[in-house]
Symmetry: C3
Subunit: 666 residues, 3 copies
């Protein structure tokens, strides 16, 4: 990584040449050194089917390049032109109620329709051919925010592909019937063609069917990404990404596997800074060793004709930028440069207004640019330090929990809660996808993953044997690959390895059950597993409720490490504290050393180079705070020495402290 | 009644022969002496259209019988196999929005479609022929929970049947127009074929049409039950029932008229024990003199992938069982024996887990079995005592109130509230359907029945003439048979008999009107009738609001008895107390003697034999309490004497006290 | 105006001749001197297509006339008979979800379908021909409550008409593309036929498209009114109106432009008396100089089978009637005379019950009639005084805010809030449509009109030049005619005239921004514009939030007057007081003299004749209060002198005080 990018989304197709020229001039002046263009301009370059002319884009890319602004070029497939769907209702996305969704917005085309795949291939090929080697083109973004506005399509094409997918997965329909347990409610199918899509029914659909349809849909969009990437690579050496999000209906892990780098969009408000950090700690790990990008965030506030967000407090934007770069970002980009004059996102925050004046966030953008310049040498000369703590993350688990939500489970909220617990301990952490290597970690927490694959179990056990501590749960390992209940034991194949017997499963909420562990008592919540330790040791005991005296937290030594089962979610402030004590306890047991002592709302992003360890310290909550420096270091911004001990940090302030490398580390 | 049944729903079709054998062994060990099987297994016994083989069921029934477990056999018509609907969208249930509901859940078939009736007849006939005389088959359940998940079907077949139904009801369309008042809003029809089903409209549909469509639908499902019962009876002597509920879209009274015994499903949580008792006091009266069954209740908690209930506190299950048997149940059955491994109800409480271990409620099931054995001799040797107080119950009234809900009326909540008032007085009570005999009662309360049939009025008047007290209202008698407003008087034909004139009707809520009666003042609520007593006496006077000084409660002597009009619903704690005082007052006037003095949450279920009166006392609220014994009796469980006066009852404790018969009684 | 009408809606088609005769007799007795008939009786007079017989109506009109009751005759087009739609699903209204809405309610026909226009023309022509010259027919009402239950129709006919409308508006599709900015999201159209209706999409539709579809729909229903009016005028000299409302999906200004007088329906409860007064102050100005009618209001409460309202407190009805007549009404009419026995509005308040007895509101109707008689001489001898304060009102602005609601903006609530602020100041006021003359006003407030037409700006500037004060905002002038953002300046062409620069636009809520003005500080709310005064003077300053120190309220002198920009909405009690102080301040600056000092809830409706000024004083909130008489006057009801100074007014009391004309006035 040679530089830090500071960018903005740019829509030259919407403005006159004069405005475009003026905007490019001002970008350079402002410090914007990269733009993203093209994700919605299909109708501009192919106004009628087959009449393609991408040359205007080439001109803009050249103008930008000459002004020192590089380009991320997008494929425009999120919004096919009117000629694609007019007279072709069968090409439209169909929602769960069976309603086709029409032209005029985004993502209205079924991305699995052969016609879509074909037209998308043509336009992407032309863009790649004609623009893919232009100077200034440093990367590609596929489409835009896959499945942000839609989830699973129910059209006739998807129905056919679903049946093919089932055939490939199960081979014969008897196997599907057996694995899904379709004798229940006489669901049994005689041929794959009979298997419905999860449309309207009087009561609930089979859990296996629902979850498999979600996985099918996530695989299909990843497949589209693979197709598109292959086309680009034939003509362009620039790396390919997609702007993802944990909020979309995609399997991020699968998607990025075949792309070159990861990037995401986030519109978390300042109050939810932890959600912002979560994204950085996650997307860093979809392509290990490769910096990620924040492809979209607002310079001030999100908004549309249907909603308007609260602007960031002044100062927050630079804190965001520094935190992102420190946590592994190469690019930090705004949506959008110039306020939309038309469409439906006019109220969205922008760098400049529709009438060409600085937008509300403009002074903050200048602050962020100043920060970027200040930290660039130290950041480009280092890399994120290896975390010792990992939290498992899975979009496939999200699919399971969407199917089996118990009416109130929200994957994102659960994962955010777990992440915040770790963040509060001050331990540096990674959120890692299911398939990630466990090398380098000491403590692994795997919450909210109902189905644990045999592969993940095997690797986690090896990790444990080597000395790692694996905390499993809540809501983890309690379902099979096919989203059914294990019939050998509550935790299936894993259970025998945990020294614990799953006795009961039930929802703790409303039962008055309290959990006791680590010197605290806290109410328990969520659909829970209740254990009887066999060889394991009980760490957390149930008080009250229907099964007092049993355990919700057990620990079993295996090899050099331990498997810890967490069957329930301690709730409320006491519950949060109990979880944090659990994490700190096992962090100590596992010899986690990378832990900073900070006040709440101030973070440390540790980085390292050949010669030093670098702490990037940022106050994210706007209240200021402090961090305890473990030893004397050097303030990388002022060049002065920084004494060991308490270091005060102002409102949204950032600091960089370098410590000479300690050979014993890592 | 020779024995008390303790049962569970069993799904042998979902498990291996080995698991089935093990389950049957454990059932016997646990004390389960009856199972219910078959309600969802159509696809197992007819996997392809016309290929029927019910022999595996015969084997299971035999195994069960040999283990001492008898069988309730179900017809499987709630879930037609895929061959029934695949390629036949016209056979699907269509909801009020016009959306056909698909295969994969339950109740997706229109139960009025000729193809459904035909296929259902075939499969039921085969089951009855081949299994109906097997030893151990002690009863039949038709289908499962008719119209639990759906209400009225709007398909084309229903449309045609609706027109036929209208023709049979009205003879000619002019009569329909006149009775429904269709000149309003130019609704008038020239032929029956033009009458719509109550689908989407810009504003409201005609009340008569809406209510008649509900009645039509309820009659049709009862008709299906009659058809199916006739088939079974050709081949089997075992009695036929259906597992109903006040929550379903059925007319329970009409349904059970042609069945052999009544049964219901209930998943009321422990906090709503009154709702549980309501069911017992109601279903006992659908087939007078014949014990009812609780066909489904959870051993611990209800649940599905879309919701999860709170488990019962330990101890509650045995209290439920004892209360049920004491109130007239012959069977007390769980849903379900073994936790579902697949489908969509995996989180539901069960007797054993999917992996074959005791479920959360298992110890409570053992407690319930212990209780069953303890009380069986006394229960089978007695019968429920005749209640002196009756509350009218009507599912047709529910249809009226669904049509004319004023946006907030919920029939079930209203009826539950009325029931709880009577329960609190300690008077033993029946909930009786509209057509029930009034023989044996002294006090009849008829609330929330907008249309009073001439037949019911005539019988109630005779009851009054003989000395009964009839409390009419609230919301009773204010609409005609066709769901219009009477044009002769506010109460139509009834009004002249009440000595009272209905002056105004309006919603009391928000008007500040207070009712004064029985020494209390309470806010009034609901759509109300305001009276001017003519010959009657005012018992309750309006204070404040738009019509102060008029009456909401009047009393008129007729023959030996009295007609009491209650035009409004006293609300809040004061309102509840006012209603209870009213009930106690008229109970005394009517010489109701069967009234126990208990603390709240402890109930007395009175029974009688040739030689004694038996009080089954149960603490239902888990807080313990006491009951006052009117005279010395014998503790039927310990054999010891029980002194007159206060008897303490522990948390969820049950007691049985026998009193020698007093000849003056009854 | 020769008399005051006191009326009721009457449905002779629903009752027997005997009941009709009795009702007419009682109307005369009660003081009802006008009825409205016919708006739903199409099926009665044309039971089969083409078989028309309106003669029964003629008989009723004659009976009424003989009893001294005049008639407003309605066209029955709100409810086409079953023959119109049976077998013609393509004639039905289609809602935004694409669902056709069926027969049996109201407004189920697409009013743009050629068949509808044709059949409506035929029936209206017959009514006009045969009844239009009958004695007693004093007016016509078109249809009933246009678009009360539906908004924009999405049927195929509307789709075609939409394309024609677009063609007429834009001439060529390139212009539409440019003005709507359709390159965004590749929405661009190649031909008008491709432009969709605003149906279901994954995300939001283009704002221009949404707003234009609303305007198209409002124009179409006004066009229908023009067609129908032309037919009536060929045969009848009686004036034509429609019963509108600010709650319906219509452009009231456009609608009444071609009708003869304005009328409205209102069911505001007594607690919302300000909403009632708003209607009077608005509808008076749709046909300046011509009295308006309250065509429907309840004698006690609104209600239907799906809802039931709170009855008016006794006394409120007469207060309403007096306020209406004093504020310019000629007619005050109830919905309805006799309670419906059938249909779906049975619970609605009525003058007499379905069984022919006085309804709940009857005594209040008698009070209203007494009041009418008492004030008639003074009212008919005077006219409403010219207001000096005007608030702009626009249903087209409502369309803009429906499109760009930010998720929470509700036009009606915003306008009501602004109106209440003016009401509280005691200044007499008009709500005036965009096109109204500004003659006679001194202070003009134009809030919540996102697009200001050049015409309105020009007339307002002339008003300012002449000495008027024009307060612009909040949410005013910030969008173009095509519902896009201006690209020259935040306020487009207006901005240069205000001496102010719009710097930022954002939602104030949640930012902690406080506005300081007129000695008060108040939280600011809504999507806001933030200003830098250039030539203007800052009147209100921002404290805190993301842009402290800038202005939300500026003032610029122009000619003899001033332009005041209000960029945000002060909220809460302090915000309300700040707005009232602003209004009073500018009222003084503008020399507004017509301002009464009253307690909250007591109003003064000023009227004038050749010889005197008349204050009609009414207590509307039921709490009594007082008003300060500026000088000695004469009590017009008692004939006694009324001293200057404080005059007490009782609960719902009304007073009329005459003051001799002061020549300096007006």
């Amino acid at each position: 990584m040679n530089k830090l990018y500071h960018g903005a989304a740019f829509y030259p197709e919407l403005w006159s040449g004069e405005v475009v020229r003026e905007d490019i001039r001002r970008m350079a002046e402002t410090g914007i050194n990269v733009v993203r263009i093209g994700e919605f301009l299909w109708s501009t370059i192919e106004p009628e089917e087959g009449h393609i002319d991408v040359s205007p884009l080439a001109g803009v890319i050249r103008q930008l390049y000459e002004a020192g602004v590089e380009t991320i070029l997008c494929t425009p497939t999120a919004t096919p032109p009117i000629w694609y769907t007019h007279g072709h209702p069968e090409r439209l996305f169909v929602n769960a109620e069976g309603t086709p969704l029409g032209h005029g917005s985004r993502q209205h085309a079924c991305t699995n329709h052969p016609a879509f795949r074909e037209k998308a291939a043509v336009i992407t090929e032309r863009l790649a051919q004609e623009l893919g080697r232009l100077p200034g083109v440093i990367g590609w973004q596929l489409d835009n925010e896959f499945k942000a506005h839609v989830s699973e399509c129910m059209c006739a094409v998807c129905r056919r592909l679903w049946h093919e997918w089932l055939y490939r997965r199960y081979g014969n329909v008897e196997r599907l019937n057996e694995l899904w347990g379709t004798r229940i409610w006489s669901e049994s199918y005689n041929v794959f063609d009979q298997v419905p899509q999860p449309g309207p029914t009087p009561f609930l659909h089979n859990s296996s069917m629902q979850t498999m349809y979600r996985l099918f849909s996530m695989e299909k969009i990843a497949e589209f990404a693979v197709e598109q990437t292959a086309i680009i690579r034939r003509h362009s050496a620039a790396p390919v990404t997609h702007n993802g999000s944990v909020a979309f209906h995609i399997d991020n892990e699968r998607l990025y596997r075949h792309l070159d780098f990861a990037s995401f969009d986030t519109y978390a408000s300042a109050a939810h800074y932890a959600a912002y950090l979560l994204n950085c700690d996650l997307y860093r790990n979809f392509k290990p060793g490769r910096p990620f990008w924040i492809m979209e965030t607002s310079p001030s506030h999100a908004g549309s004709i249907a909603s308007s967000g609260t602007p960031h407090p002044n100062g927050y934007l630079a804190a965001e930028a520094v935190a992102a770069y420190a946590l592994g970002a190469e690019g930090f980009c705004y949506w959008l440069w110039r306020q939309q004059r038309a469409g439906s996102e006019q109220p969205h925050g922008s760098v400049v207004s529709a009438w060409g004046k600085p937008g509300l966030g403009y002074p903050n953008v200048l602050e962020a640019e100043q920060a970027r310049q200040a930290i660039e040498p130290a950041i480009t000369g280092s890399r994120p330090a290896q975390a010792e703590v990992a939290i498992s993350y899975s979009d496939r688990a999200k699919a399971f929990l969407a199917t089996e939500s118990h009416g109130k489970l929200r994957h994102r909220g659960l994962v955010s809660g777990a992440y915040e617990r770790v963040l509060r301990t001050g331990m540096h952490r990674d959120l890692i996808p299911e398939g990630a290597s466990l090398e380098g970690y000491k403590l692994l927490w795997t919450p909210f993953i109902p189905y644990l694959s045999s592969d993940l179990i095997a690797r986690a056990l090896a990790f444990v044997e080597r000395g790692g501590i694996w905390i499993v749960g809540p809501l983890t390992g309690i379902r099979t690959e096919e989203h059914t209940v294990p019939v050998d034991a509550g935790l299936g194949e894993l259970e025998s390895l945990t020294g614990t017997e799953t006795v009961f499963t039930y929802a703790m909420d409303g039962t008055g059950t309290v959990g006791s562990a680590f010197g605290l008592e806290a109410p328990l919540s969520l659909w829970s597993s209740v254990y009887e330790p066999v060889e394991a040791k009980s760490i957390g005991t149930l008080i009250g409720g229907p099964s007092p005296g049993l355990s919700f937290l057990t620990e079993m030594k295996r090899g050099q490490g331990r498997i810890v089962l967490l069957g329930s979610l301690p709730a409320g402030d006491e519950g949060n504290e109990m979880l944090e004590r659990m994490l700190i306890h096992y962090g100590k047991v596992a010899n986690v050393t990378r832990r900073a002592e900070t006040t709440i709302g101030t973070i440390v992003a540790p980085r390292e180079s050949e010669t030093e360890e670098l702490w990037v310290i940022v106050n994210m909550n706007g209240e200021g705070g402090s961090v305890t420096l473990p030893r004397e270091g050097i303030d990388k911004l002022s060049g002065e020495r920084a004494a060991a001990g308490r270091l005060e940090v102002g409102r949204y302030e950032y600091r960089m402290i370098g410590f000479p490398s300690v050979s014993s580390r890592k």
